[in-house]
């Protein structure tokens, strides 16, 4: 009885295909030859891609988003790893409290979080600088980084650590040679997942940009409001491609099972 009725199956497939539909619409519209947004396009052209690549504003936004995503992913993965390693190995008693604190941002509506972030960053005088965006992204991504790493570390048999130490490994060596490789897929999940989140974050980020710096999604957002040039479709398609590649990479190097595991809390 591992089968669905054909009607249910068709319904499921129809709804599933509905999910990427708007993305395909954007994709199609990006090849439009005319001067305004239109789907289906009347004529085909790559002119909007040419414009996207020649307008320095877009290139800058893409690069900013990419390097911020990379910095955030590496930092938050390292931060979560250290915290999870310390609590699991040395202080399992505080593990519950730490998780409570780390997961609490999840219960904050993003709009409130954005205002809170801008209040804090303004008092630190960093609004409009990469620091504000990076710090805010660290707060947003910490739960998504901590969970895969915590799950991976928790499954490491303590005797493996002891075995390495009996053989003469220092704590650092055991960490590097044994624990890190075993937790590889959890760490990679954290890196790619938080990278994607940072790359695509807009609700909190849009409060923190300034004349000097803006990220790709925030710039798309601003342009949608200002004018609806089809160059947006081309740029959006590029952003989808970047996210898509990251997801494929995630599937390759770590698998997707993390996303459908039930929390064991």
């Amino acid at each position: 009885m591992r089968k669905m009725t054909p009607t249910m199956k068709m319904l499921g497939i129809a709804l599933l295909l509905f999910l990427p539909a708007p993305i395909f619409i954007v994709f199609g519209a990006s090849f439009n030859g005319s001067g305004y947004i239109q789907f289906p396009p009347e004529s085909w052209s790559l002119r909007w891609y040419v414009e996207a690549f020649t307008d320095p504003r877009w290139g800058r936004a893409v690069l900013t988003s990419l390097w911020i995503a990379a910095v955030v992913a590496v930092l938050i993965t390292a931060i979560s790893f250290l915290a999870a390693y310390f609590t699991l190995r040395y202080a399992p008693k505080i593990s519950g409290w730490l998780e409570l604190a780390i997961f609490s941002p999840l219960f904050f509506p993003h709009a409130s979080m954005g205002v809170a972030a801008v209040a804090l960053m303004a008092s630190m005088g960093v609004v409009g600088t990469p620091i504000a965006i990076i710090l805010a992204h660290l707060m947003v991504t910490i739960p998504f980084s901590y969970r895969p790493i915590h799950v991976a570390l928790k499954s490491v048999d303590p005797d493996l650590i002891r075995a390495a130490e009996v053989m003469g490994a220092s704590e650092l060596r055991a960490l590097w040679d044994i624990i890190l490789p075993i937790c590889r897929s959890g760490i990679l999940t954290s890196l790619l997942f938080t990278g994607i989140i940072s790359f695509d974050e807009v609700t909190v980020t849009m409060f923190l940009i300034g004349p000097e710096i803006t990220t790709l999604p925030v710039q798309i957002f601003t342009f949608i409001q200002d004018d609806a040039s089809p160059v947006l479709a081309a740029i959006s398609t590029l952003s989808v491609i970047i996210t898509f590649i990251a997801i494929l990479l995630l599937e390759r190097v770590a698998g997707l099972s993390f996303f459908v595991q039930r929390q064991s809390s």
């Binding site: 002891r162 130490e165 009996v166 053989m167 490994a169 044994i178």
Partner: protein, 386 residues
């Protein structure tokens, strides 16, 4: 090559462990109470006891994973209190083996050598030597997941031995294997230990394994050492009822001391027996004490009820319940006034024993052992096992 790490021939004096008054508590719970123990270099010593007796705790203290609440542990005369695990001259085989899943067989074995920055050629030589020693020729490139249980076992052993530690700690490493493989590996372990003359400290709850494999056995229970001795000492001269029951099979006859004089008179369900006082030398009983007489099954002879009782023998009337021939030996289940007993005899030496036949059982008076009954906390150990 580092000469300090690999002495050309093992010095018999290296690898001794002296444990002095070591206690370990977790909060209010004392899992090890004032244990003192000398483990001579080059011996194969087994820590034997039921689960929760403290044997694994003692092993982990020697390894340095935990530190004693009180007392000191010396290895070759050197106090280990401040010495971290990494610096102790020990190797360890874990109960779950703790093989590195992301390394191949050779990588697992080479790991400790790599940490010691052994040069490539020497590493290669030693890894293959130990792969051969444990009988894993040709499997060096296998992944751990591709090995059978027995092969994993051998990798764990080789991985520890390749570093030539003066002491190897083994924490119930055979408990997950099936019987036949177990037997095979027990012999292999004993053989390897003889070849290398490394001190082996082996933990098990299986008394048969302990008696087969070791030079010396430490019987433990409830955080205390009950007895230390060779397998033979422990079998034939147990110091208390716990040890007697834990090692081998024993007939227990609970009873009461009637009188103490030249002889010790004890009344049991199977009859009253006059025994020399020497059988209770660890007890010093007085009349009225509750005691238990212990008799190994092979000490109980079965004779015709009409046959005369030889001098120095004690006898009682019994009835045959059942006989079971196990090759050269036969187990006879008997009943003496409602008390069940087992006798094990050479099959050849026994005549026909139909069920229900009346017989006379006899045993040498000095073959019996008389002990005080088990204290409640020790008795639970057998409850757990059943």
């Amino acid at each position: 090559m580092n000469d300090k790490m690999t002495p050309p021939t093992r010095d018999a004096a290296v690898g001794s462990i002296h444990i002095e008054n070591v206690s370990k508590s977790y909060g209010d719970a004392e899992v090890l109470s004032s244990v003192s123990l000398d483990i001579p270099a080059g011996s194969f010593l087994t820590l034997l006891g039921p689960s929760g007796c403290g044997k694994t705790t003692l092993l982990r203290l020697i390894a340095g994973f935990i530190s004693p609440t009180r007392g000191t542990i010396r290895i070759d005369g050197r106090d280990m209190t401040q010495v971290p695990t990494q610096k102790r001259p020990i190797g360890m085989v874990f109960q779950n083996l703790a093989l590195f899943p992301h390394f191949s067989v050779s990588e697992n074995i080479a790991y400790g050598l790599k940490l010691r920055k052994t040069d490539a050629a020497e590493m290669q030589r030693r890894v293959s030597k130990f792969i051969q020693l444990v009988g894993l020729d040709g499997l060096g490139d296998r992944r751990i997941a591709q090995l059978s249980g027995g092969q994993k076992q051998r990798v764990a052993l080789a991985r520890s031995l390749v570093l030539e530690p003066s002491i190897l700690l083994l924490d119930e490493p055979l408990s997950a294997l099936d019987l036949q493989l177990r037997k095979q590996l027990q012999f292999a372990l004993k053989d390897i230990q003889k070849q290398l003359r490394t001190t082996f400290v082996f933990v098990t709850h299986d008394q048969e394994e302990a008696t087969m494999i070791s030079d010396r056995i430490v019987v433990m229970s409830n955080g205390h050492v009950q007895q230390v001795g060779t397998p033979q000492d422990i079998y034939s001269d147990p110091q208390n009822l716990f040890v007697s029951k834990f090692i081998g099979e024993v007939n227990e006859l609970p009873g009461k001391v009637l009188s103490v004089g030249q002889n010790l008179a004890v009344e049991t369900g199977a009859g009253s027996f006059e025994l020399p006082t020497s059988v209770a030398r660890r007890l010093d009983p007085v009349a009225g004490d509750k005691v238990t007489i212990c008799l190994r099954p092979e000490k109980i002879a079965i004779a015709d009820p009409a046959a005369p009782v030889a001098p120095g023998m004690v006898s009682a009337d019994a009835r045959v319940v059942d006989t079971l021939v196990i090759g050269p030996l036969t187990r006879v289940t008997l009943e003496a006034q409602g008390t069940r007993m087992t006798s094990v005899q050479m099959t050849d030496a026994l005549g026909p024993l139909p069920s229900g036949a009346s017989v006379r059982i006899a045993f040498a008076a000095d073959a019996a052992r008389v002990f005080a009954p088990l204290t409640a906390d020790l008795a639970t150990a057998f409850g757990d096992q059943a």
